[in-house]
Amino acid sequence: MHIFKNTDYDFLRWRWHALALSWLVILAGLGVLLTKGLPKAVEFAGGTVVIEKFDDPKVNEDRVRDALDKHYPGGGQNAIVQAYEDPSLHQFMIRVPVVGAESGAALGIEAQKVEDALKQANLGTFQRQGAEIVGPSVGRELTSKGIWATALSLIFILAYLAFRFQFSFGVGAVVATVHDLLITLAFLAFFRYDMSLNVIAAILTMAGYSTNDTIVIFDRIRENLRSMRRDSLNHVINVSVNQTLGRTVITSGTALLTALALFFFGGEVLHGFAFTMIVGIITGTYSSVFIAAAIVSFWRGTGPTRAAAHAPAAPAAAAQQPQRRSKPQRKARAS
């Protein structure tokens, strides 16, 4: 069975459109991010904790969450509801992210809002056992450390790809990954998802996934550069993308299947996580096909390797190939 058989799409023809589209989305996303920011989940923002004891034994976490979802301003997806002490006591600890200033007054107001929501949902009578202001459980250092880790890993991936392939390939892969990170953030901003640890984990997974996808295509380009010396670089790129298209679509497809299952059946808790995954998988695939290779083409098009890349495979020309072109070939031959 074949999804794509001997396709011959001219992907590079669309590179300008693709770049324009990406810039549009990224700039719009940055605009939203800078003006409105991303809402933060409890673990980042801190918030208010209210402990309530319910008289109705049928009240459970899901009903409390449901009540917050419908009646609490901002919805229940940001709230954490936990049974407090022995479940037979029907006590629940409800944590909602901070809204406004952290002060005694804010504590009272937020606790009141939670209780109003519970009353509107007809959860019976309940008594407040306590209320408290909580700080963030994830410090600001996590964000900066996360950014550092990502930046450094990208530099090392660039170095690795420069070593195994060529510098331009490294640039292409890293630009594609940064592109995917920005697009994912943009979509999170458009759809107002909370920045939670789960979402961060999803973003990091997607960054890795996108690089993976790109490298597979690059690998094919590297292989074809050896056998198709008479052809222009752009032609080789197009052929390579087409040859790997089946694999690209199938892999994205299986990953997308699982992400969609999580989104539609996973309930509220996994929404942000699954949404990030879906966006990440789509943009990761898109960038591998349209952005990464295009960057290589741009980079090499203006760089000194242009002549070598377009040179016919005359013996003399082959001998004059710059060092870094011959290196990956030797490696590839070893395989």
């Binding site: 673990e43 976490e61 996360g146 997974t205 996994l270």
Partner: protein, 530 residues
């Protein structure tokens, strides 16, 4: 053929071992099957969202941090006055934020003010009657010290919880005054030990002994007072004796816990449990100087203001030392952990201890697990439909991947959360990528009219370096995330790491072997179901 047999044995062995660690305990717990305790201890733990845990609230005694600053500044003032020969009758700290001095002669008043400028970075001075002054800690300094103490306490607790091997805890500052710390620990079996370790101050100080040990405190007093710049510290009696002993030690510590770079359980010369420690380069330099100048004297090793032992300094010691006392092996373990994670800047008291239920309701958990199973089944179904019999190969590789990942995560004591499960499933969804790559390549080779065996070999060989490249790039990211990340991000990086290795193993080794097994019996192979 011989070769193939060994490959199969390896595969079965891996499957059995990882199932025993990762999968069997889960089934055993669920269906009450018999299982050895060793396996059950290693069982994959469930996180706060799936199972709940212990909920602790601690108050940071921020007064301690103020007292430390005040007493330190008082000693600096005392030294300064002695250096300048300014007499005074009384120097005390009436409370944590005040220093009181009396009896400065009128003639020396200007000189005193000069001497006191140094501590006035933190204190406001006000003059009283008869050559007396009161220094009050500046309000902003007080606020800063209190906040700092809470921040440091939170970080220390986080390190200790990490060292305890508890992953995915939730630690936050709370309370209107911001001096309480909320700690939620999932899957902790020994709550008392965890509580003890979190609460221990863990302040290690090495101080020169001036006098002692003596059986009473009074014997060390001079004119009924503790000599200036000295401290009296109680200690454990020598073996065989009863009652406490007291040491007169220098107030300034030669080395303190902040200089400790590492600590580990070891044994002393009598084969008794002890804690070995290694100092930082800076600490080692200080320690070398003090021990070098004081050979023959005794050095008190003081932990949380109690002398654990007072060995004689035989020669110059730089970076490595040992704390011996009458410790049990368990205490040594705990002490090493506490020293590694650093001292608390202030003492802690427990305000609350409660058990809490999962933060996700049963319905949420059910739908999350359902979604994960559906996702996994969709991948399996797709692979079977698209790759037919070869798809079975991919599915077997997938199951292997799952089992290895579960087994290793259980082994390293990872905690499973709902997003963790989802991430797991997604790893599987992405993990089939290696199989897809190989299969697509085999198809291409088959279309180029190569034989089935040759195509399979070419498929695996050509894709091998692609897989190495993609996996290396991913390992680079995982390594940096692990290095820089804290808590949950570290756990995530670990899962990624394990997933990558098990994926390489299953896609290259297991899949290939399965093809070989399928083709081994057939002499002439004309077609391949792919």
């Amino acid at each position: 053929m011989q070769n193939l047999r060994w490959k199969l044995i390896t595969i079965v062995a891996v499957l059995v071992i990882f199932s025993a660690v990762g999968v069997y305990p889960i089934l055993a717990a669920r269906y009450r099957l018999p299982a050895p305790a060793v396996l059950m201890d290693k069982q994959l733990k469930l996180g706060l969202d799936l199972k709940g845990g212990v909920h602790l609230v601690l108050r940071v005694q921020t007064d301690d941090a103020l007292r430390l600053q005040t007493e330190g500044d008082m000693e600096r003032l005392r030294e300064e006055l002695q250096k300048r020969n300014i007499p005074f009758s009384n120097l005390t700290t009436p409370d944590v934020a005040h220093i009181r001095i009396e009896g400065i002669p009128q003639a020396q008043d200007a000189a005193f003010r000069q001497a006191a400028t140094e501590i006035q970075a933190n204190f406001d001075r006000s003059s009283g009657s008869g050559g007396g002054y009161t220094f009050t800690m500046k309000p902003n300094v007080q606020v800063h010290l209190r906040e700092e103490a809470v921040v440091q306490a939170r970080q220390t607790i986080e390190r200790r919880v990490n060292e305890l091997g508890v992953t995915e805890p939730s630690i936050a500052v709370q309370g209107a005054k911001g001096d309480e710390i909320l700690v939620q620990l999932p899957g902790v079996t020994d709550v008392e030990r965890a509580k003890g370790i979190i609460q221990s101050t863990g302040l290690l100080e090495l101080k020169l002994v001036e006098q002692g040990p003596t059986p009473t405190r009074e014997a060390l007093l001079q004119n009924g007072q503790v000599p200036a710049g000295m401290d009296i510290v109680a200690g454990a009696p020598a073996a065989g004796d009863t009652g406490a002993v007291y040491y007169l030690v220098r107030k300034a510590a030669a080395v303190s816990g902040t200089d400790v770079r590492n600590a580990r359980p070891t044994v002393d010369e009598n084969n008794q449990p002890a804690v070995g420690f290694t100092l930082s380069a800076e600490g080692g330099r200080k320690f070398g100087k003090v021990t070098g100048e004081n050979v023959g004297r005794t050095l008190a090793i003081i932990l949380d203001n109690r002398v654990q032992s007072a060995p004689r300094i035989d020669n110059r010691i730089t970076t490595d030392g040992r704390i011996s006392g009458s410790f049990t092996p368990e205490e040594v373990q705990n002490l090493a952990l506490i020293l590694r994670s650093g001292a608390l800047p202030a003492s802690l008291t427990y305000l609350q201890e409660r058990t809490i239920g999962p933060s996700l309701g049963a319905d949420s958990i059910r739908s999350g697990v359902l979604a994960s199973v559906v996702g996994l089944l969709l991948v399996v179904a797709f692979m079977l439909v698209y790759y037919k019999l070869s798809g079975v190969n991919a599915v077997v590789a997938l199951i292997f991947n799952l089992v290895i990942l579960l087994g290793l995560m259980a082994y390293i004591g990872a905690v499973m959360t709902l997003p963790g499960i989802a991430g797991f499933v997604l790893t599987m969804g992405i993990g089939v990528d290696s199989n897809v790559l190989i299969f697509e390549r085999i198809k291409e080779e088959l279309e180029a009219q190569r034989g089935v065996r040759a195509s399979i070999n070419a498929g695996f060989n050509r894709v091998f370096w692609t897989l190495v490249d993609t996996h290396t790039a991913a390992l680079i990211s995982a390594a940096f995330l692990f290095q820089f990340g804290t808590g949950p991000i570290r756990g995530f990086a670990m899962t990624l790491f394990i997933g990558l290795f098990s994926n390489l193993f299953t896609s290259i080794f297991v899949s290939k072997t399965l093809f070989e097994v399928a083709l081994a019996k057939r002499q002439q192979v004309a077609t391949l179901s792919i």
